[in-house]
């Protein structure tokens, strides 16, 4: 796609990002996930691959529908981002994926089919930490800014309730988010999760300027 100017022209909102810009972000996300892959494989002692099939810009209210409807059961990890750009990250993993990830990471099935023990929740948080840190490191390098994730808040529930609480915390309804679809794949199975990135309104202009002036 030609020069950086064409890839990252002047943009005012996330929804103004072009297909080419989203593809560039997907490449960057892919690079971030490569770091996460290495960290996770080391943790597991066997290979695991993370891929980013798609990056899209989606109104928050549409996310429950994309995940399978308001009552679909998910794990949600909520990180606050501090540093030069402030914002939030929500990681959503469908429940069958949660069970599969726990089994892969701990070598055991979950103790109960419908709930997680404290240890199992910690394992999931660790996975979320690795994903989010790897992703933010890649984004930091690309934009030349400092981005630090908080320790996550965690919820296991209906995706409608998880996303609505995320929106209420942020106090915004009409927000659009950058949704980074992620697949975790080990030799046995694959799991799809979503990492949802939202810069705070006061940080958004700076974030988009950085994208526009990106030298890559």
């Amino acid at each position: 796609m030609g020069t950086s100017d064409q890839r990252f022209g002047k943009i005012k909102a996330l929804s103004d990002l072009t297909e080419a810009q989203l593809n560039a972000l997907r490449e960057m996300s892919h690079a971030g996930m490569a770091h996460a892959t290495a960290a996770l494989s080391q943790l597991l002692g066997h290979p695991l691959t993370l891929t980013v099939p798609r990056v899209s810009i989606v109104p928050l209210v549409q996310i429950p529908g994309q995940v399978g409807g308001e009552e679909e059961w998910v794990a949600g990890l909520y990180f606050k981002i501090r540093g030069d750009v402030k914002g939030s990250i929500l990681v959503l993993i469908p429940w069958n994926g949660v069970l599969s990830v726990i089994q892969t990471l701990t070598g055991k099935k979950t103790a109960q089919p419908m709930a997680l023990t404290e240890d199992e929740a910690s394992v999931l948080k660790e996975l979320g930490n690795i994903l989010t840190s790897a992703y933010l490191t890649a984004l930091s390098n690309l934009l030349g800014v400092l981005l630090i994730p908080s320790i996550p808040g965690i919820a296991f529930d209906m995706v409608g309730a998880v996303v609505d609480s995320f929106m209420v915390e942020r106090g915004q309804l009409e927000e659009v988010a950058m949704v980074i679809e992620t697949r975790f794949e080990n030799p046995a199975n694959g799991v799809a999760g979503r990492l949802i990135l939202l810069p705070d309104p006061e940080s958004l202009p700076g974030f988009l300027d950085r994208l526009s002036s990106n030298p890559r």
């Binding site: 320790i151 996550p152 296991f156 309730a161 609505d164 609480s165 209420v168 309804l173």
Partner: protein, 160 residues
Amino acid sequence: MKKIQVPLASYSLAESPDVLASYGVGSCVVVALFDPGTGLAAMAHVMLPGRGEEKKSLPPAMYSDQAIEGMLEDLLRSGGVRERLVAKIAGGAQMFVFPSGSKDNSPGQRNVETVIEKLSREGIPLIAKDVGKNYGRSVEFYTESGRMLIKTISEGIKEI
């Protein structure tokens, strides 16, 4: 019997025997106003406490005050009797448990408090509620009986 879905930040009216439903409610609050005399009901899926800026065109139930005022106006216009109206509410959970511990005043709790205050100012008796805690709720309001059914993943089904 028809099921009418009430999405986030909106409200709907229904008449007996229809059912009003909001699925996957977290920190938001569902407010049902009901006239047992006519079987007329309104239900809102409120997102934020208080009142939004009047000049901005907001979704009808984004803020609790505007949601309750809008429902009252529509109910009375459709033949509901103000003196007979009663309210039931559900939701206002704190979904995310942060390691720093729970906040005293979570957004969900603020939502609930503001709704209760507004109902009291409007003189509408709040006859039942299922609020707070840390889990999501799916809510159905049955206009035929005035009962509210609350489904959760971890806590089973409850009727108020």
